[in-house]
Symmetry: C2
Subunit: 246 residues, 2 copies
């Protein structure tokens, strides 16, 4: 199998396109490919191509798209992960895992117990960073589609979630609610779209949960306390299994 590169400009067989700078570096410095060498290319919008290196100069590397290839099938459900931003680089891991499991969109949230502000996320160019991580994960897991990273938003009740695809499931930690549903209570017919809402390290504020109670389905995952950065991958795997998509 040929090495696989992300080239968002790839659209038409026969065209010659430039690789993004970090992809170009990987091609020439790490893999040491040269003109004429074959490679695989995906554009992040779901298209996959066979290609060859066309030209290498100091300034840029161009590749020629020689054939359309079969892209990896996407899940039949458009699943959005609305994830409270976690501390340090834990959010990076969540984004990486979400892409690997076939999530369609990541919606970063700032919640009552988040230890970060929207301003700090913007200043730190975190969204751009998460996009790069999504690209890298798509390369590794074989997806031709790079999930969208939506601009981070404040989670302040149901209105802030109104734009997210229903049904919405909100993951709650053990003991946070009297009787959250379990994944076995979720209909086993996969919806066309859905949203999974996952909280930060400190869990949800009781007022937060109460405010959105009528708009989201609370979902518990057994009695054990999951690490905050593992909650999304476990809940996603559970829902996909319930819907026979894994």
């Amino acid at each position: 199998m040929h090495a696989r590169f992300y080239a968002p400009e790839a659209r038409e067989v026969g065209s010659e396109i430039a690789l993004p700078e970090d992809e170009a570096q990987h091609l020439s410095r790490v893999l040491r490919l040269g003109p004429g060498d074959p490679l695989a290319v995906f554009n992040g919008d779901g298209d996959e191509f066979g290609a060859v290196v066309a030209a290498i100069s100091k300034a840029r590397i161009t590749v020629r798209l020689v054939s359309r290839a079969t892209a990896q099938d996407e899940l039949s459900i458009a699943l959005t992960l609305a994830q409270a931003v976690l501390k340090g680089d834990k959010m990076d891991d969540v984004v990486r895992d979400a892409v690997m499991l076939g999530i369609a969109t990541v919606q970063p949230l700032v919640t009552a117990r988040s230890e970060v502000t929207l301003a700090a996320l913007t200043r730190g160019a975190r969204r751009e960073r998460w996009h790069r991580i999504a690209v890298s994960s798509a390369k590794q897991c074989g997806r031709a589609l790079v999930p969208a990273i939506a601009p981070p938003i404040m989670f302040d009740g149901p209105t802030s979630l109104a734009h997210l695809p229903a049904p919405l499931f909100i993951l709650v930690e053990p003991g946070a609610l009297e009787r959250p549903g379990s994944v076995a209570d979720v209909s086993d017919t996969a919806p066309a779209a859905a949203t999974l809402v996952v909280g930060p390290e400190g869990g949800w504020d009781a007022a937060e949960l109460a405010r959105c109670a009528s708009h989201v389905h609370p979902l518990g995952l057994g009695a054990l306390t999951l690490r905050a950065d593992a909650a999304a991958i476990v809940a996603t795997a559970a829902l996909l299994t319930r819907w026979k998509l894994l």
Copy 2:
């Protein structure tokens, strides 16, 4: 809720026991508890106690067990994770996650494509390290039982797996087999025990898979390539969901 400590000697209410050294350090240096302060104690065999600090000296810290507490329920299935040892500290993460998901036993494997030998694992005291990680994960997720870390073994066909509880499921990467079963093909009635076998970074050698074909159920998890250190957590979550245990 009181801070929670691992004390393998804790057996009988009324007795006074010493804490292991690292737990003692955590109690006195990090949490700065003193004589009379309340704490929670679990022994790793499934028992949970209320306790108070009895005495603190330079050499050791003793606690008095004052009441038996309700331990976290364990899963109704004794699930063994037979995991090929991964590179670097990735195996640490697998052990941590397995404990968090309720696994009963971890059986480290050295496989055809493993980049480590049994001798190196012994020399590096890796089993002791994984035990410490299991303790730490049990503390965090609330389990009173610390899963056993079995001595690493060579995976060389069905005989090497004969001691592991049946049914055995072997996770196979996309494309490794013509038609592996999916988790939806697994009976939805939870067995009393089972084993999940997960391979190393390079996946299974074809001969390895062929040799154990009659003894294990091959299990695929969708079309995407999972990171080696995420495979066990995803497969465990999927099986527990299938069995309505999550």
